[in-house]
C-alpha cells in the first residue's frame, strides 16, 4: 500500500478526469500514482449523472449494465407557466449513470493497467525543486513527500494543486453555478425516459431545476443557480419540490452539493511540470453544466501531452504548451460558443420563457444553444416567431450579431 518516493507522473484527483488520464498513461507503461483525499471513489457524487450518447461514441465507451442504469430517449424543457417543448426519439440518446459504479470501474481499469491509486491521501503542498515537483501528502496522520517531474492536476473545483504551482485556476463567482440535489425515491409524475428541465427566474435564477430519472421510481432532482444569488440553491430546490405533487412525498436517499464552473474558461492550462484537466481547468458545458464527458476527454488529452513530455523527458512550460490549443481545438472553442447561448438565456424573463415554449421547436432551442443557427433559421425566427416581442428581438439580434459573446451583467 505504501507510496514510493518517485513516480513518472502524479495525478491529483481520482474523478473522471484523473482516472481517464491514469488509464491512458498506465497503459503506456508509465509509472503512475493517483491520489485522492476521499475515502471512496465516486462518493459523495457531485453530479446528476447524465451522459449523452455523443460522448459514448466519441470516447468509444461501451455502456455497461452496472453503471449505465437508465437509458434516456430525449428531453423536455418547461417554461415557468408549465408549458413544455419536448423531444423524444425511438433510439437511446444517452444514459443516467450510477456514477460511483462508473468511476470504480474506471479505477479498476487504471489499477489493472498498472497505476497505483491511494485514497485518504491529501496533497497539502506542491513546490518545484531541481526541475521536479515535490508534493507533500497527508495520510493517516502522517506527512510524506513524493517527487515527480510532472503533476496532472485533476482535483476538481477546489483545484488548489495548480494554484500551489503558480497557475491561477480560481473560480469566478459570476461564471460559477451553485448546485444542490437530492437523489429521491418513490417519486412519480414524469416520463422516466426523458431528462426534465424547468426554467424560470423564481424557480432557478440563471439556471434550471432538473429531474434525471434513474430506475424504479428513483431520480436525481436538483438545481443549479448563479453562485452570486442571495438565497441558497437549497432554498430554491426545497421550495420547488414542495410544490410538485409527484415529488413532495418522495424519500431522499442521498444529498449532493457542488459548484459548477460554467464559463470562466482558462486561457492557459499548463505550466512548468504541470497540466490541468477536468473541472480544475473549468472544462464544463456552459449551458447545461455537464462535465463528465468533457473531463474524460480532457483527461485523455492531458495524458497524450504528458506522455510526450515523459518520452522526451522535457517538462517545461514550453514543452507542454501545445496542450491548451489542442484542447481548444478539440472542445474548448465549441464550449465558448455555447457560453454565448447561456448569456442569452440569462437575459430572458419569465414571460419570454413562456412565450418561447409556445412558439419555438426543440430543434430551434438546441440550435440556439449550440450557436448553430443558419442565416435562414435566424430570419425565420425573427420574422415569424419573435416579431411580436420587441424585447426578445433585441436580445436575439445582439446574440446573433455579436461573435464575441454577450456582454456580462
Amino acid at each position: 500500500m505504501e507510496m514510493k518516493d518517485n513516480y513518472d507522473v502524479v495525478i491529483v484527483g481520482a474523478g473522471p478526469a484523473g482516472l481517464a488520464a491514469g488509464i491512458d498513461l498506465a497503459k503506456e507503461d508509465v509509472n503512475v500514482l493517483i491520489l485522492d483525499r476521499k475515502q471512496e471513489i465516486g462518493c459523495p457524487k457531485r453530479c446528476a449523472e447524465g451522459l449523452g450518447l455523443g460522448w459514448f461514441n466519441r470516447l468509444e465507451l461501451k455502456p455497461k449494465k452496472e453503471w449505465a442504469v437508465q437509458p434516456i430517449h430525449g428531453a423536455a424543457l418547461y417554461a415557468p407557466n408549465g408549458e413544455g417543448v419536448q423531444m423524444k426519439r425511438k433510439e437511446v440518446m444517452g444514459y443516467v449513470l450510477e456514477r460511483k459504479m462508473f468511476e470504480k470501474d474506471m479505477a479498476i481499469q487504471a489499477a489493472k493497467a498498472g497505476a497505483k491509486i491511494l485514497l485518504k491521501h491529501q496533497v497539502i503542498s506542491a513546490k518545484r525543486e531541481d526541475g521536479e515537483v515535490i508534493l507533500t501528502v497527508e495520510a493517516d496522520n502522517q506527512t510524506r513527500t513524493v517527487r515527480t517531474p510532472l503533476v496532472v492536476a485533476c482535483d476538481g473545483v477546489d483545484s488548489l494543486t495548480a494554484k500551489m504551482l503558480g497557475l491561477n485556476t480560481k473560480l469566478d463567482l459570476n461564471e460559477t453555478d451553485a448546485g444542490y440535489q437530492y437523489e429521491m425515491t418513490g417519486v412519480s409524475g414524469y416520463d422516466e425516459h426523458l431528462l426534465h428541465l424547468y426554467f424560470g427566474t423564481d424557480i432557478a435564477p440563471r439556471g434550471y431545476v432538473w429531474i434525471f430519472p434513474k430506475r424504479n421510481g428513483t431520480a436525481n432532482v436538483g438545481i443549479g443557480i448563479g453562485a452570486y444569488e442571495e438565497k441558497t440553491a437549497k432554498y430554491y430546490l426545497d421550495k420547488w419540490i414542495s410544490e410538485q405533487d409527484g415529488l413532495a412525498n418522495g424519500s431522499i436517499i442521498e444529498v449532493n452539493a457542488g459548484a459548477i464552473p460554467v464559463g470562466g474558461f482558462l486561457d492557459k492550462m499548463e505550466a512548468d511540470n504541470l497540466i490541468v484537466a477536468g473541472d480544475a481547468g473549468h472544462m464544463v458545458d456552459p449551458i447545461h453544466g455537464g462535465g463528465i464527458g468533457i473531463a474524460l476527454e480532457g483527461g485523455r488529452l492531458a495524458a497524450k501531452h504528458a506522455l510526450k513530455a515523459i518520452k522526451s523527458e522535457k517538462y517545461s512550460n514550453e514543452d507542454l504548451e501545445a496542450y491548451t490549443p489542442d484542447w481548444y481545438n478539440t472542445r474548448g472553442n465549441e464550449l465558448k460558443k455555447r457560453l454565448k447561448g447561456r448569456h442569452l438565456l440569462e437575459q430572458l424573463k419569465d414571460d419570454d420563457f413562456n412565450y418561447l415554449a409556445g412558439s419555438i421547436t426543440m430543434d430551434e432551442a438546441l440550435k440556439i444553444g449550440n450557436g448553430a443557427l443558419t442565416k435562414k433559421d435566424k430570419l425565420l425566427l425573427l420574422s415569424k416567431k419573435l416579431v411580436t416581442r420587441p424585447g426578445l428581438v433585441k436580445i436575439f439580434m445582439k446574440y446573433m450579431k455579436d461573435d464575441s459573446g454577450m456582454p456580462k451583467k
Binding site: 483525499r37 476521499k38 475515502q39 459523495p44 457531485r46 485518504k120 491529501q122 497539502i124 497527508e138 476538481g156 473545483v157 477546489d158 483545484s159 488548489l160 494554484k163 485556476t169 480560481k170 473560480l171 469566478d172 463567482l173 460559477t176 451553485a178 448546485g179 444542490y180 453562485a227 452570486y228 444569488e229 441558497t232 440553491a233 437549497k234 432554498y235 444529498v255 449532493n256 452539493a257 457542488g258 459548484a259 464552473p261
Partner: protein, 58 residues
C-alpha cells in the same frame, strides 16, 4: 474577523475552496478548515455555498 463554517450544514463539496481569492480554505475529505490569518472577509465562500454553511461577520 474571518469566515466561519458550520459543519452541521456543510456537505464538503469544495465549491467555496475554488472561489476563495486567497486560498484560505482547505477541504480535508469531510472537514472544512478556514485559515483566519489568510481570510480577507470577502464573502465569496458565503455566496457560492449551496446550503448556506458559511458566514462572515460584518
Amino acid at each position: 474577523m474571518a469566515a466561519k463554517n458550520n459543519f452541521e450544514k456543510c456537505l464538503y463539496c469544495g465549491g467555496c475552496v475554488g472561489v476563495c481569492p486567497v486560498q484560505a480554505i482547505t477541504l480535508k475529505d469531510t472537514r472544512l478548515i478556514i485559515d483566519p490569518k489568510k481570510c480577507i472577509n470577502c464573502g465569496a465562500c458565503v455566496s457560492i455555498c449551496p446550503v448556506g454553511a458559511n458566514k462572515v461577520e460584518k
